[in-house]
Each structure stands twice: as structure tokens, then as C-alpha cells.
């Protein structure tokens, strides 16, 4: 078994004992990190594995959050169904948006993903009768059987661990190898007979699917859904998380999410100037640790058995 699979198992086991600390703070933080970690990993499927810089990942996160919350609150749909619908809606939205975006390259791809996410944001912001507009959807309660922070934590842990397992299988499969090949050289990949656009679109959909799952979880975790979930700084923040952890490692973005959320929790308790600190961290990272935290730790290892940073 690879080192990263062990990492996943140990992480899940450790986290499973987290509620024993009986600290509401750690349960809260743990749930937050798991959800944002999944969100960041979903983005990294595009960013680190396929080489597509999406600047509109918040769109699928938001669609997931709104779909699940709306179906539960206004449609009185049972939670499992609403949750599944959220993921499917995320994938469908990603398919439609991705269909246009994958035709673009580099900066134009980033701009178009941004434009689409802003469309989704503007709709959520303006469609008062459905989404509640600026005030958002308030009072999204824990579903039945998951009606305590600890139960919801375990549910999140199970969903996120399962998602990571599936995504890891995926990136280590021939499909995942093709994505990496596309990242390294799209033209050559085309030459060896691979339909690059199709693979990019599928990656985009999978990414949207898991981002929507993260969004659906976050809406319930937060007990409310706001248009801000979709606003572009949210897309920027998840990019920063991925980059902070390291985009050339599967769990890099999770590490980034954990470090960032923990820091924010600590920093905001004594100063309101969190953006200043986040900006400084980001700038330092770009200048001195372009490989992120995981990339930095790996580069320090002298005896690596094989070069895993492909």
C-alpha cells in the first residue's frame, strides 16, 4: 500500500477520535477542514492534475449548497435525496459550463470560468423569491439522525473519506494518468490519439460533482447558504488553500485547507485583519515556497524512494 493510502487511513482513524476530546471547538474546526479540504481537492483535480486553472470553482460549491438546502427547506425532500441531487446538479452545471470553458486556453479559461461563476452568483443574489437574495437561506437545519455537531462530524468524515478514496483511485487509474499527460503537454496527448477536450470535460464534471458535495455539506454545517459562497473571492480562497498545501500532491490541498482554517480561527480571535495576514502568507508562499507546504517538505527529504512529484 502506498504511503498516501496509509496517510488517509491514519488520518481517518485519528479524526474518528476527535469528538472524544469533547471540545466543540475541535469538532467544529475538524468539520470545517474536512469540507474545505474536499472542496480544495476537487479543485486540484483540475489545477494540479489536469493543468486547468479554474477561477470559478465556487460556482459548483454554491450550486451544491443551494440545491441541497432548497430541496430540504422548500421542497421538503429527504436529506439523502437532496444531498445526491446536489452532487448531480453540480456535475450537470459543470458539464454545461465546462463545455464552453475547455475550448479556452490558459488565461481565457480562467476568465471564462470566472465569468460563469459570477453569472451563478448574480442569479443567486438577484433571484429573491427562490434563493432569498442577499439575505440568503437561513435556518438550514441538521437533517434527521444527524442532529448534533458530533453526528454531523462523523457523517462528514465518512463522506469526505469516501470521496478521497474514490478520487485517489481515479487519479491513479489510467484515466488519471491521461489527465497528467494532458497537463504536461496537451498537443502531444492529442497526437497519440487521445481526445483531450473530452478528458478535460470529464475531469471538469468530476470536479464539479465533488465541489457540490462539499457545498451541500457546508450549507448544513453553516446552517445557512449565502450568495457569498459563490462570489469570486471564495474561488480565490480555495485556490490559495490548494497552492498553500501543494498542488502536486493528492493531500496537499487538504493540508493547505487545514493550515489556513486553523490560522484563521486563531488570528481572527485577536485581530480583524485576517486578509492582511492571508495576503502576506500568500505572497511569502509565492516567493519562497512555490511548491506549497507538502512540496517543501518533500524537497527536504534526501532519501526519497521514488520521485512522486511527477
Amino acid at each position: 500500500m502506498s504511503k498516501e493510502n496509509w496517510f488517509l487511513i491514519i488520518l481517518v482513524l485519528l479524526l474518528a477520535f476527535l469528538p472524544l476530546t469533547e471540545s466543540r471547538f475541535y469538532v467544529f474546526l475538524g468539520t470545517d477542514i474536512l469540507i474545505m479540504g474536499l472542496f480544495a481537492v476537487s479543485l486540484n483535480l483540475l489545477l494540479g492534475y489536469t493543468g486547468l486553472v479554474s477561477f470559478g470553482q465556487a460556482a459548483y460549491f454554491g450550486i451544491g449548497a443551494y440545491t441541497c438546502a432548497l430541496l430540504m427547506k422548500k421542497g421538503s425532500v429527504a436529506f439523502p435525496l437532496a444531498f445526491a441531487a446536489a452532487a448531480v446538479f453540480g456535475a450537470i452545471a459543470a458539464m454545461i459550463i465546462g463545455f464552453f470553458c475547455i475550448r479556452m486556453t490558459k488565461i481565457y479559461f480562467a476568465m471564462l470560468t470566472l465569468a460563469f461563476s459570477q453569472i451563478v452568483w448574480a442569479i443567486a443574489f438577484k433571484w429573491n423569491s427562490l434563493t432569498g437574495g442577499d439575505t440568503g437561506l437561513i435556518g438550514v437545519n441538521f437533517p434527521a439522525h444527524l442532529d448534533s455537531p458530533i453526528r454531523f462530524f462523523y457523517f462528514t468524515l465518512a463522506v469526505v473519506a469516501l470521496s478521497f478514496y474514490v478520487l485517489r483511485k481515479l487519479v491513479n487509474s489510467p484515466f488519471g494518468r491521461i489527465l497528467t499527460t494532458i497537463r504536461e503537454n496537451p498537443e502531444r496527448t492529442e497526437f497519440i490519439g487521445i481526445n483531450v477536450k473530452l478528458f478535460q470535460l470529464i475531469a471538469f464534471m468530476i470536479s464539479g460533482f465533488f465541489a457540490a458535495i462539499a457545498g451541500a455539506l457546508f450549507g448544513i454545517f453553516n446552517h445557512s447558504v449565502f450568495p457569498d459562497f459563490i462570489f469570486w473571492p471564495q474561488s480565490a480562497e480555495v485556490l490559495i488553500m490548494s497552492l498553500l498545501g501543494g498542488i502536486y500532491n493528492f493531500f496537499g490541498p487538504v493540508v493547505g485547507a487545514a493550515v489556513l482554517l486553523y490560522l484563521r480561527m486563531q488570528v481572527t480571535s485577536f485581530t480583524q485583519y485576517w486578509p492582511l495576514i492571508l495576503g502576506t502568507i500568500l505572497a511569502l508562499l509565492l516567493f519562497f515556497f512555490p511548491g506549497g507546504i507538502v512540496g517543501f517538505l518533500k524537497s527536504r527529504q534526501v532519501f526519497t524512494r521514488k520521485n512522486q512529484c511527477s
Binding site: I107, L112, L114, Q118, I119, G279, L282, L286
Partner: protein, 297 residues
């Protein structure tokens, strides 16, 4: 629905035009920087915000001086240009060898840092600057009144556009700048100091943003958050007009100005959605924008 009053339509069109001129000032700097440096500068809205705050600062410093507003505009916009130059020279220039994403994220780091910087220095309250004395009045248009200051802006916008066009097309440095947009390596090997040129271009772009912020300060409340608000609209302008295209930026600004001004009247719900749809449609059909040229590389 009865036909709206014609004078009302004219006023609405003129307000759209005023807004378009601010958009043009900011977006032309953004487009210039992208055209030459290939950096999408998220911090451009922050430089605009800084221009507005600095104008407030200089106005309060020059109380009772004749023409205090105008001096404040000059000092504020030049300060922003210098700040831009320093950022490019000492920070951004070190990231050119890295991936584009790193430059983009660095400018986003600047957004975060500068927004809190403004909050620390000037607080979170609304600040305002009064209009300069000689432009305090209003001009009768049909049976309504339109502020003189806005008319000044509508005239100033094209004047600055013309000035820039002349600099770019009729001067030696303008030729260097245009050459750098096409092939920076070749320009460097011909003996032009490309690094200095890049700093200059970034400083000019920052100056335009600072000027936009300085000139808008009498018309809006100076608040934190005005940076994030303007930057997306400036992006839409350059994308619709064409990244790196001068006239495209002007066209994009005019379109967005009018859409914003009339969209709120006709379909208040959909106007905001519409401008993003416009951006997406242009990107899909003509990624290089309405008046831009496709990238060779």
C-alpha cells in the same frame, strides 16, 4: 408602458457615459499591463481605491489652498503610480519566470494586503470629498439638470484616451511599448531595457487606476470594498473590448456604462446577470474581444 420622458433618457445616458469614462480609465491601465506584461492585475481595483483614499488625504492636507482638489488629484494619482512602480520593480518582476498563476495570485495577495492597509489607515467608515469649487454647478439639459463635474469627466475621458493613443503611436517610448507587446525578447536583444520598460508600463497603468480613483472620489462614498466592486467590471470591459486593445477598452467601457445605466431601469433583476452573460458570450465567440486581435502565441 408609456414612453419615458426624453430628457430623462438623456440624463440616464449621460450618467452611463460618466461611469463609462471611469471604467475606461481603470480598464485601460489593466489592459495596458496585460498587453505588455501578460499579467492579469487583480490589484488594479486596489490601486483605484488607493487613489480615492489618497485624494481624501491630500484634500485634507491642502485645506484652504487654491485648487486643493486638483492638487490632491495630481498628488494622489502620482503616488499610486510610484507605488505601482515599486511593486513591479521589487516584487512582481521576480515572478515573471514562474507560471502565470503565480503572478495572478500575487496580485490577489496585494488585493488582500491593500484592502486591510486602507482599513487600518482610514478606518471602515464612509469618507467623502467635495466637488471642486469651479465645477459645483449643474447644467440645464432639456428640462433637467446635470452636474458640471460629470460633464468635465465625460470630456476628460476621451482627452486622456487621445493623449494615450498619441503617446503609444507617436513617441519613441510608445513604439517600445507596442514592440514589447509583440516580442519582448527581440526588443531586449535590440538594446532596449525591457525591465525598465515593464516598470514604466506598470507605473502608467497604476497611474490610470489612481487617477480614476482620484476623480471618482467626489461622486461616490469612499469605502472599503470599492476595490473588489470595480475590478470585476474592469475585467468585463477589457474582456469584451479585447485584452490589450486600446479602442476595444473604450468600446467595452461605453457598452458596460450604458448597460449598467439603462439595465437598472428596464430589467433591474437581470442587468447584473446580463453583464456577466455578455462577458461569457464574448469570451466564447471571440476570446480576443470585440476589437482585439487573436494572440499569435
Amino acid at each position: 408602458m408609456s414612453l419615458p420622458d426624453p430628457s430623462f433618457l438623456v440624463i440616464q445616458c449621460l450618467s452611463g457615459l460618466t461611469y463609462a469614462m471611469f471604467l475606461f480609465l481603470i480598464a485601460s491601465g489593466l489592459s495596458l499591463i496585460f498587453g505588455i506584461l501578460r499579467v492579469l492585475n487583480f490589484a488594479h481595483g486596489s490601486l483605484y481605491m488607493l487613489g480615492a483614499y489618497l485624494t481624501y488625504y491630500f484634500v485634507s492636507q491642502f485645506v484652504n489652498a487654491p485648487g486643493q482638489f486638483w492638487w490632491a488629484v495630481i498628488f494622489a494619482s502620482l503616488s499610486v503610480a510610484i507605488i505601482g512602480g515599486i511593486i513591479e520593480r521589487f516584487l512582481l518582476s521576480r515572478l515573471y519566470i514562474r507560471e502565470e498563476l503565480n503572478q495572478l495570485l500575487f496580485t490577489y495577495a496585494l488585493v488582500l494586503i491593500l484592502s486591510d492597509f486602507a482599513k487600518i489607515v482610514w478606518g471602515t467608515g464612509q469618507l467623502s470629498v467635495s466637488r471642486p469649487a469651479i465645477l459645483k454647478g449643474a447644467v440645464p439639459i432639456l428640462d433637467q439638470y446635470f452636474p458640471e463635474y460629470n460633464i468635465f469627466i465625460i470630456i476628460l475621458g476621451p482627452a486622456i484616451a487621445l493623449l494615450f493613443w498619441l503617446i503609444l503611436h507617436r513617441t519613441r517610448w510608445g513604439r517600445f511599448i507596442r514592440a514589447a507587446a509583440l516580442d519582448r525578447e527581440m526588443l531586449g536583444s535590440l538594446g532596449v531595457n525591457v525591465n525598465r520598460l515593464f516598470t514604466l508600463v506598470f507605473a502608467i497603468g497604476a497611474w490610470l487606476a489612481g487617477l480614476g480613483g482620484a476623480l471618482v472620489s467626489p461622486l461616490v462614498a469612499i469605502v472599503p470594498g470599492m476595490d473588489v466592486e470595480i475590478i470585476i467590471n474592469a475585467f468585463i470591459v477589457v474582456v469584451v473590448g479585447g485584452l490589450g486593445s486600446f479602442w476595444g477598452t473604450l468600446l467595452g467601457a461605453l457598452i458596460l456604462g450604458q448597460v449598467t445605466s439603462f439595465g437598472i431601469l428596464v430589467l433591474p433583476r437581470l442587468s447584473m446577470v446580463f453583464i456577466y452573460v455578455l462577458m461569457a458570450v464574448v469570451l466564447i465567440l471571440r476570446p480576443w474581444g470585440l476589437l482585439g486581435k487573436p494572440l499569435q502565441r
